[in-house]
């Protein structure tokens, strides 16, 4: 990816016109972008999101938008909005504006803009930490040189904490303190107060919260403070598979895409320089692609969605189907009955406190017999201190409601294989009747044209309609009461708190629901291979469902795995994109039987290739046979499966470009692991 820029073309009037004719940040300027929902000089920019959900709520606050906060805390304790940084701030604003609406715009999404802004702040922090503003000059981008870029590249693979030297800064604050003093600054959970620490180090508290670089560092100090016993309610009952990976990867470099983003900001500074002015004057990458540079800097390969083990996935689906088919209808009916009783009581006795009605209603309405296995014990959610196990054993009505939503979500996600954004954007009338069955209609998030979400429909089984109907029935009252058109339209909504305003379910909320659902249905734990590790639980995510359907479909048919059908269903741009799903190295032996079968097919049909020959020789040696034809395929399959399980060989599927032209074929390559 070579990027060159000719200066002459930049200076054309038509490109610069929007800067010179009238200030484009004024409200009545014809050039003001429609996505900027606030004043140009606002401390916090509000960016309109692309999916058309951005709106004002009753209180006049914008919701479903992205915000860029200019009032940033710098490592020296200053704020970016301070007067001495006024020029820098203006440059930043113009840059962020130009990346979406300038003549050299690179993104059309608010999230992309938001990410670029964050990376820009990292660069500014790095400049402050490395004293670019001393002795006499103000901080400015134009002072950066190619030498600085090389300096920046040294630490970039470890991310912003390394660039901004969090470790040194935290150490300088904490090392000087005695344990007693540390204890003085501990919070109610018995850890060092993060708030205090952030204040001391000039780091924004939200950045330090779950940072894989800082967490282990602080844990060391936390151990020095006497542990008082955590009072917090744990989100999950067991260690998650993700936490496990996070702990392993503390000192790993960042993924290449993340490093690429951090490097890319230098390119933006160069590219937008003619528009914004006062930015860097050199192309840091010259002829080198950022991807290659990121890999040269030893960034980790891109992290992909992990493959959920088949038995765990099926356990989830079974439980979700049970909730939707067995409990769902009666639960919805029960909740409606509760609501009706609640209103009656409220009408009779208008004086009592709010919390009073719901338990009363719960006492009056009998629980249906079909809901007996759930063992609903109360109306309101349990207090925070209640152990997770007890909550799962005797959930409240509100909990059950959440479980039902997560069950419906899992079913829809598993059978439609949509991305989480697309799922949460589903509307009430998303089910369409086609002449060969039901279809679901959704806005395609990736692969749609600029600013418009393409409406696509794909086949679904009747079970999904059941789930959607349940969700509609569950929230029928909320939807009727709300004035918000978005709430009326969206499928996944919830009442935010007790009788609070209704809100759309966000990604974070549904993930929380999914976690508690997993604990409630008691998904079997996975025993790790290493003896000293703890067993962990696989908490499901929508993209894993997508991947599971794709893999099980592709590897599930022996003779004709229809790649194009899968590509069509997943709404990919082409089969090359789909093959990436199948190309990734599979961890563990989740689908090893299929992999083995595919391997054996290749082994028996393609004799010529070098890697195949190698495996052939291994196999023959193992079986002490003269030819593969003598051995039964299933025996070879068993053998190959064993090899996978032992990680002796690895498995890839590739588009192979043959010598004589552009013929593609699916092929399997083998390489012995360097264990």
């Amino acid at each position: 990816m070579k990027r060159t820029l000719t200066k002459d073309s930049v200076l054309e009037d038509e490109l610069l016109g929007f800067l010179s004719t009238k200030p484009f940040f004024e409200d009545d300027s014809p050039h003001k972008a429609p996505w900027l929902l606030c004043d140009w000089f606002a401390k916090c920019w509000i960016l309109m999101a692309r999916n058309g959900k951005s709106r004002k709520n009753k209180t006049g606050k914008w919701v479903d938008v992205h915000r860029i906060n200019w009032d940033r805390l710098l490592p020296n304790g200053d704020r970016l909005t301070d007067p001495q940084y006024a020029d820098l701030l203006e440059d930043c604003r113009r840059l962020i504006y130009a990346v979406r609406s300038g003549p050299y715009a690179t993104t059309d999404r608010s999230f992309g803009q938001y990410q670029i802004a964050n990376n820009l702040f990292t660069l500014i922090n790095w400049m402050v930490v490395h004293h670019f503003d001393t002795p006499i000059t103000y901080l400015r981008f134009s002072s950066l040189t190619p030498g600085d870029f090389e300096h920046y590249c040294e630490n970039v693979v470890f991310g912003p904490p390394a660039l901004e030297q969090w470790g040194q800064r935290i150490d300088t604050v904490l090392l000087g303190l005695a344990p007693t003093e540390l204890k003085r600054h501990s919070d109610k959970h018995g850890r060092i107060s993060r708030k205090w620490l952030c204040h001391q180090c000039h780091i924004a508290p939200n950045r330090i919260k779950i940072n894989r670089f800082v967490t282990p560092l602080l844990e060391q100090y936390d151990r020095m403070v006497a542990h008082l016993g955590s009072q917090r309610r744990k989100r999950r009952a067991h260690t998650s598979n993700r936490e496990r990976n996070l702990r392993d990867a503390t000192l790993d470099p960042l993924s290449s895409s993340r490093v690429e983003d951090l490097l890319q900001i230098w390119f933006h500074l160069y590219r937008q320089a003619p528009i914004v002015g006062n930015l860097v004057s050199f192309d840091a990458f010259d002829n080198i692609a950022t991807t290659r540079l990121a890999l040269d800097l030893l960034a980790r390969a891109k992290g992909r969605t992990p493959t959920i083990p088949t038995d765990i996935a099926l356990y989830y689906f079974n439980a979700a189907i049970a909730w939707v088919v067995d409990y769902g209808p009666s639960l919805v009916k029960y909740i409606h009955a509760l609501d009706a009783t609640y209103n009656d009581i409220k009408k009779d006795d208008a004086t009592s406190a709010f919390d009073y009605y719901a338990p009363k209603a719960f006492e009056r309405v009998p629980i249906p017999r079909s809901l007996a296995p759930i063992n609903i014990s109360r109306y309101h959610a349990h207090p925070n201190v209640t152990p997770k196990d007890e909550v799962c054993k005797a959930p409240s009505v509100q909990d059950a409601q959440q479980y039902l939503i997560s069950a419906c979500f899992i079913i829809i996600a598993a059978l439609t294989a949509r991305r989480h954004d697309e799922l949460l954007d589903l509307t009430v009338d998303c089910i369409k009747e086609e002449f060969d069955g039901l279809d679901i209609e959704f806005g395609l998030l990736k692969g749609s044209a600029r600013d418009i979400l393409e409406c696509v429909s794909r086949p679904i089984p009747t079970l999904v309609k059941l789930a959607v109907d349940l969700l509609i029935a569950l929230n029928v009252n909320i939807r009727a009461e709300s004035d918000d058109p978005v709430i009326k339209r969206l499928l996944f909504i919830r009442s935010a708190s007790n009788n609070g305003p209704a809100a759309a379910i966000t990604k974070a909320v549904i993930y929380k629901y999914l976690d508690s659902f997993a604990d409630m249905i008691d998904v079997p734990l996975i025993t790790p291979t290493q003896p000293n590790e703890l067993s962990y639980r696989w908490y499901i995510r929508p993209h894993e469902c997508r991947r599971f359907l794709a893999l099980s479909y592709f590897w599930g048919s022996t003779t004709g795995p229809s790649l194009s059908a899968l590509s069509w269903f997943l709404c990919h741009l082409g089969p090359e994109q789909t093959i990436r799903y199948l190309q990734e190295v599979r961890k563990g032996a989740e689908l090893s039987a299929d992999a083995a079968r595919a391997t054996v097919d290749a082994l028996r049909s393609e004799h010529g290739r070098a890697d195949v020959q190698q495996l052939e020789q291994m196999t023959l040696k193992h079986f002490q046979a003269g030819s593969l034809d003598w051995i039964e395929p299933r025996h070879i399959e068993a053998y190959v499966a064993m090899l996978y399980a032992r990680r002796d060989i690895d498995f890839d599927v590739n588009f192979i470009r043959e010598q004589n032209g552009s013929r593609h074929c699916v092929a399997i390559t083998f390489r012995e692991n360097e264990l």
């Binding site: 002449f435 060969d436 679904i460 599930g556 194009s564 079986f623």
Partner: protein, 781 residues
Amino acid sequence: MKRDLAGYRHLGPLVDVLCRHGVMLLKGIGYMSAYRTRRGLLSFVQYLSASQERLDYTDIPHFEQALKNWRDALYLTKSFPHTETRNYICATFFFLKRLQKAEALPSFRIPSPTWSRPPKPRKLKKRKYRPVRHAKPHALTAKCIDDRGVWRSYDFRELAHLGTVATELVRRFPEVNAGLSYSSHSRRRRTILAMFQFFKDHRLTFTPQDPKQLLIVLLKFREHFYRNRNGSAIATRNDDWRTLSALLTQLMRLRTLANVQIPEAFRTADKFREMNRTSKNHLGAILKGIRHSNARGKTVESAFDISLFEKDDVFLDHFYRDQRWAFDLLRDAAIRECREAINDFRRGQELIAKCDIEYLRAVYQDTGRLCDPHFANHGQAPSFFSPNHPHGLSNLLGWIWHEHNGLLKSKTFPGSEHIYRHGGTEHVKRMLGLTIDTANAFFIVILGETAINVESLERATVENKHGQDVFMVPTDSGKYVRINTTKPRARKVIPKLLTVGDDTEINAHTCLLAAVEMTAKFREHSKLKDLWIHSYHSKRTSAQPISGYGFVCAYSRFLQRHKELKPLKKRGATRTMIRGTAGILEWFDTGGNMLKVAEKLGNSPNVAMRRYTPKEIQDALYRREMRRSQQLLILVSTKDSDRVLPAMGYTNQKQLNRDLKAILNNPHYSGADLVKILFAAKPTTKRPAKEFPKVTFVISPHNIALLKLYVEYIRRQKLAHPLMDLDRAAAQTPLSFWIELWALIEIKFRDSFDRGERLRFVQGIKLAETMADSITFPPLT
């Protein structure tokens, strides 16, 4: 007159008056006057009806104005010459005056028949006067005025079978359509005729006054209307339907039809499968949009009418069957021809071998003639080539073969007059080598099997540029032969593997071999490298390559020659389509694997899909595949619970069992992880696996001999039933350990064996073969 005006009763009392007195007053006047009066009155009434005015003659000023308006309109329309128009108006007004005299009408002022601002009279000199068209209007001819004021007549004689209903409709037609454009008229006429044609074809009774029955037939017609017009776009269909619906609504207002809610047009085309012509490169009938009424093979074809609207399974099935049917028809015919041609050629070779060419030459040298002196009868010797000669054909072929290099040139060949008695030129040519028709048959067989580009195959050569014979290279296994096909447009060489067939079978390999063999003699002297060469009808001394046009003509003759290929000829099947169909069939057979298609066609996957596989078929297949996989996922997730049925959306166990059976029988799913899980528990619940007995057994030479016998027996069994499962056999027979041992000897051992143990066994058996004593083996697990 009564009949003419009967339809306008609703316009008011004037019509009654006209009807009552008309007949009486028209008596005694001339035919032409009476005719003009009638036409004029009718036109007046129609005009009023079109302008939606009421014939209320009591409202005198209004009525007078109406008369004036009508007069002006009639002048303006210019449907007749000016004077003729005036005649009509005069006659009409005169009639009205007479009515006034008879006191049938009140006395109002009848305007002058002359127009106040008459237009320029037409130049009659230039244009010959033509009498009025439709001088004798049929009862089923409707005449109505259009938006430009022109009177147009429309024929409805097709509705004659409807009797009075039709007359009524036709009478109403001018009324409801007056003032609309000509295109609207014709569209309305077309749609209503289509509707009645449908009723007639399907024997539906059209009862205009029975609302229930009317609605039913209308609904039926709508379905038919949307289904059976593959050619037109859905927008056109919708417009047509709306036109018809407007017409019917108007008729209902006039009480001609009972009042029903006319079914609406479909909003979108989603409900109906639109077959666009996304890909024309295959033999299928659907995409060509050709009706199947004349085609043979009704069983296949009759299915297509419904197939467009069936569910995906049926639709795909029909499409596949059609493709397969067309493909097989072509291929079978070609194979028949190939077989005949090859047999003819072989027979020709035998006959040539029998021919004593030296003797013929000697006789020719001696006598200067080609008559056989041995068979001379009274001085008359028969020709060597004559059918009366016992070796006539043999001599004929031999002479051509040796003296003319196998090329039949009638002008230079001395015995050419005998050829027609030996079966004709073509027959003799076939015995000598490749003819253009044989080449075509070979071509089709090769094309169907390998799907090589037509151009590439036409230009096939037996040697490459460097003069090396790399035409067909056998592979190591001997089962296949590799050929290189060049694709000129892509400038690349694509290797293809052909299956080697035996002598009886006709496939691409045998065809190519035969083609090479048949042209070998031609090639000797011509130095041509081309594969397809033949002897040309001319004085040219060497064989000629078959041109592209020659192939096209031969293909056309081929379709004509075989009666069963008539439908394909009607569809305009070309050779490129054979290639496309071969690709599509491959696609179906591999369950929609586009990589396999691409491999077969030699294109990139995207091109193969875009150009050769119709989009609609792709979508239908994708939908089916994905629906199946979703159902499978639900089934596997809920396999042991009671909620399988509601989750799958079924009402009874039968449907579920049918699905399970389908999955079990589907070869695409065998061995899939999910399917294995699905069927994992079943056998154990039914029949617990038997514990394998621990057997200690003794192996002696006697036992070894016995074992070998068993091994031979099982091998035979395995050959006879390739799908035999050893595990099941082991569980069922008491000879299970023998089978295990056989597996050991054949080095086909199971997972259950320990490697060390296995080695011991193998060595032990080898030892036992040579030793006289017996060896005791440890127990088998």
